[in-house]
């Protein structure tokens, strides 16, 4: 994307006014999407974004500037702006010598979506639309979306790091509306992986569409969810967002170091039930949160956050790790070249236990079975978090019975982790997610086995 000699020159300029660390992050991203709605292929969109963000660190201060101009002159202007913003005092020339590294994710992209004729992408949309509508007359609306992106990044910094990566992600989603005497209900299914068009060899699109339609129809008969505390069983693969919110964000070192996490100072302590092991793993092949390198040029890692209930470590980016005199854990990510990196999750999951998932439900006299969770949100300072249930049922006498309307559940991270009293042997990753933090969105994955929390508060309307 940019020649090594140019990068060395630009980093030299960035460091000239007393910078302690400087970095060039360049990105060239192409997006393509296609949307079918209301029975018609509405629109294909393609977009391209290309540019570089340059940061210069002096003491506690980071100066940052970005530009869409990748010429030497454009990069030098951005480097000067970043250096001025960091307000370094000292002078002197700093010579930067880069050492080219490699980024490997251990598998290849089979079919680059950019090489696939648009007609084939469009065909997937109409197929899914037909499959969803075939489920029943109650299906009153269907929207199908296809998306792919290819993101080439380059990271070069004053520590000599010079590495490039090329990432491809492909995504497909079906959303249905069912209409009945009780009003309208919705059902959605989505799949996404850090792979190319081979996504469609992995999944049966017709089945995916039928599942979304069936979920919407099932919910027409749903009764209001209860309100108040009761045991909650979370389905395999459907509920990783629980851990993303209950402890993931609270284990991000930037929040911890600012005193904004309820998990501050708790490394080495028992923070979860025995048997609970939570991992954040950027190396997980083909998963939505997979990265070969993070957006600071560090190789992706598998980081154990909680092991058998004991808090083992936080997640780190370059700045926080540098301050603590340790290595980054490969969790420095950013939405685009226009943003500064910060500590972010990748694929966050809970390891499987040994119980039979059927017996977990059978041993729950009364509660709620949440097959699929929606998004969530956490206040890391108090640990209180919410997450939505998009498909849920009552559990009565150890059996899954009636469907429930949508709603949020609320709990407190440290308390909920201690209340996990059953772990199934049926681990699965869930659908692709986008994690938002300080206005930046990045792709993340999550996964769980079937599990039970002995008490959570359900935000329904029924007494």
């Amino acid at each position: 994307m940019i020649e090594q000699s140019v990068l060395e020159e630009v980093l030299g300029v960035a460091m000239r006014t007393g910078g302690e660390f400087a970095e060039v992050f360049a990105e060239d991203r192409r997006n393509a999407s296609a949307v079918l709605d209301d029975g018609r292929v509405e629109e294909l969109t393609s977009g391209r974004d290309r540019g570089a963000g340059i940061r210069v660190v002096v003491g506690e201060t980071t100066g940052f500037a970005h530009t869409a101009d990748l010429s030497e002159a454009g990069l030098i202007a951005a480097a000067q702006a970043a250096a001025a913003a960091a307000r370094g005092g000292g002078g002197g020339t700093n010579v930067v010598a880069l050492h080219r590294g490699t980024a490997s994710r251990g598998y290849d992209i089979e079919t680059f979506p950019g090489d696939v004729p648009k007609a084939r992408k469009v065909e997937l949309l109409t197929r899914a639309d037909e499959a969803a509508r075939s489920v029943g007359d109650a299906i009153s609306q269907v929207s199908v979306s296809y998306g792919d992106n290819r993101r080439r990044i380059l990271v070069a910094n004053s520590d000599g790091v010079f590495v490039e990566d090329d990432t491809v992600r492909t995504f497909f989603a079906v959303s249905c509306v069912a209409t009945g005497d009780t009003g309208m209900q919705t059902g959605r299914e989505s799949v996404g992986h850090t792979i190319g068009f081979e996504l469609f060899d992995m999944y049966d699109i017709d089945q995916l569409a039928r599942n979304a339609a069936e979920r919407a129809i099932t919910k027409l008969a749903a009764r209001p969810a209860p309100s108040g505390q009761m045991p909650v069983v979370i389905g395999s693969g459907g509920g990783g967002v629980l851990f993303h919110e209950a402890c993931g964000h609270g284990l991000e070192a930037d929040l911890v170091s600012k005193g904004a996490s309820v998990f501050r100072g708790r490394v080495g302590q028992q923070v979860a039930s025995k048997g609970v092991t939570v991992v954040d793993d950027g190396t997980m092949a083909r998963e939505w949160g997979n990265i070969a390198i993070d957006d600071e040029g560090n190789p992706a890692q598998r980081n154990v956050l909680i092991e058998d209930g004991i808090l083992t470590d936080y997640m780190w980016d370059h700045l926080r790790a540098r301050k603590e005199g340790r290595r980054s854990s490969g969790n420095g990510r950013r939405q685009s070249y226009q943003n500064l990196p910060m500590v972010r999750m990748t694929n966050t999951y809970l390891l499987a236990g040994e119980e039979d998932p059927e017996s977990i439900i059978a041993s729950t006299p009364k509660g709620v079975y949440v097959k699929h969770l929606g998004g969530g949100q956490v206040n890391t300072a108090t640990g209180d978090f919410v997450f939505g249930m998009t498909e849920a049922y009552l559990i009565e006498d150890g059996k899954v019975t009636e469907p429930l309307r949508e709603g949020n559940l609320i709990g407190n991270g440290p308390e909920v982790l201690q209340r996990i009293d059953a772990l199934g042997n049926d681990f699965a990753m869930g659908p692709p997610g986008t994690c938002g933090k300080d206005g930046q969105g990045v792709p993340v994955g999550d996964g769980v086995p079937t599990l039970r929390v002995s008490s959570l508060t359900i935000g329904g309307t029924a007494a």
Binding site: L44, T62, V177, G183, M184, S227, N408, I410
Partner: protein, 455 residues
């Protein structure tokens, strides 16, 4: 209709948009939407500048309609080769869409834009050192606000000066500019083993509009009044929503009243025009020509004049918002409600919602509540709100209201209802309309009979 861009930079953007649109081929409609903005963000933490970002970004979106098929492409730069690529991609993309008799660009409709220009050049020319001083000052003020404040997660100063232009082969030409600055702080307060956060913010069309003391006081108050909060038992409650919370509910309602949702059968109010959908106290307009709104504008995303649109009057649903395509399909004129950025085609959206003020101050509304909850924050709006079914369930923090007074703090509870019920359950609207950073104007609203899920 003639239109004079407000300054040379806007004129240059309009000229660029027009030159792209002039590439139109026979049997085709062509639109270019061009935007450029410069911004600064200063983040202060621990008495130091944590980061200082300054940048300019620009981009273009190109829309082609040919044989009733629409295609779109965009680029995050205004380089000529990227614009040429976007035009070619948009044309190619159009060939894969299925024909729709209603698609098409906006055409001049004779509605004159209401002149508006809140652009203050002092935003763009402000010294970097003053921005830094302001961010550091806000952090100091928050820290000094209460002995229990142990830190500020971040205090920020942000400014943005932006311009856009849209031109089409159908004769549309519009351009606009805006400048804003804003500051916010997230305070951390500790007492014993409890930690709470509280946010405060201030926004203005010019630096002198910023009220640091108000932002700091708000952050401190919100961070310090929840100590000892715990869940209360599940019950039916009345909630009192201060303007910023009430604006969120108004925004949810507004989202269900867009023509696109209605036409595609995704609005719970789609067949209710002329009917009472809310308490007679509720009147809701979307009016970007109201210059008190921070989202006030002359043109919408398709280059049509913005206008005042009545959505709900005295509880009765008046109609929906349309852009030109959805309006054509509904047999209605566009309401000037196309919203967009460079990387997407226009969609129908609310721009400057306002709930008409009622009678009574926040205090007098509070005094009328026997038992209820005052909401300080809501979480999980994206996961707990379904705008098709109308189901609403969110996590909240706040203070109980007992005998007309704010009482003990509460957290880790949910409130739930449906949007349809909440509108009918409005029991009071205050006179304290506040214009919020997002552009919505809203007073305090009191809603009865929600389910609180707690211990």
């Amino acid at each position: 209709m003639t239109f004079d861009p407000p300054d040379q930079e806007s004129a240059d953007l309009l000229e660029l948009a027009q030159s792209v649109a002039s590439n139109v081929r026979s049997g085709e409609q062509l639109e270019a939407f061009v935007a450029r903005s410069s911004y600064t963000t200063v983040r202060a933490h621990g008495g130091e500048v944590e980061s200082f970002t300054s940048a300019v970004s620009a981009g273009i979106g190109v829309r082609v309609v040919s044989d009733h098929r629409q295609g779109f492409a965009w680029a995050g730069t205004l380089e000529p080769d990227a614009i040429a690529d976007a035009l070619a991609d948009a044309r190619d993309n159009a060939t894969f869409a299925e024909p729709d008799e209603w698609v098409g660009l906006a055409e001049p409709d004779g509605v004159a834009p209401v002149p508006f220009d809140a652009f203050d050049p002092s935003v763009a020319t402000m010294e970097a050192s003053r921005k830094i001083d302001l961010a550091l000052e806000l952090e100091r003020m928050v820290r000094a606000g209460d002995p229990r404040i142990t830190g500020v997660r971040v205090a920020t100063f942000s400014d943005s000066s932006s311009r856009f232009a849209v031109a089409t082969s159908t004769g549309i030409a519009g351009a606009g500019r805006g400048a804003w600055c804003s500051m916010s702080a997230l305070a951390l307060a500790e007492d014993g083993d409890e930690t709470y956060t509280g946010g405060g913010s201030t926004v203005g069309f010019r630096p002198d509009d910023l009220d640091l003391a108000e932002a700091a006081d708000d952050a401190v108050l919100r961070a310090t009044r929840l100590f000892g909060a715990k869940p209360v038992p599940s019950q039916r409650v009345t909630i009192i929503l201060e303007p910023r919370m009430a604006a969120t509910i108004a925004g949810l309602l507004g989202s269900t009243l867009t023509g696109e949702r209605v036409l595609k059968g995704r609005s719970p109010f789609g067949d209710r025009v002329g009917e009472t959908i809310a308490s007679p106290m509720l009147t809701l307009v979307d009016d970007p020509t109201d210059h008190r709104s921070y989202a006030a504008d002359m043109f919408d995303g398709e280059g049509l004049a913005c206008r005042r649109n009545q959505l709900v009057v005295d509880g009765v649903l008046q109609g929906f918002l349309y852009d030109s395509a959805s309006g054509r399909r509904a047999g209605q004129p566009s309401t000037g409600s196309a919203v967009r950025g460079v990387s997407s085609t226009p969609s129908v959206g609310c721009q400057a919602l306002a709930v008409a003020p009622g009678a009574g101050s926040f205090e007098s509304l509070l005094a009328d509540i026997d038992t209820g909850v005052y909401l300080q924050s809501m979480t999980g709006l994206h996961s707990g709100v379904n705008l098709v079914s109308g189901d609403i369930s969110v996590g909240i923090e706040g203070l109980m209201v007992r005998n007309g007074q704010l009482a003990e703090p509460v957290r880790e509870v949910t409130i739930a209802s449906t949007l349809q019920r909440m509108l009918l359950d409005i029991v009071a609207i205050g006179d304290d309309i506040e214009w919020l950073p997002g552009g919505t104007g809203c007073p305090t609203i009191v809603i009865a009979d929600l389910s609180l899920g707690g211990s």
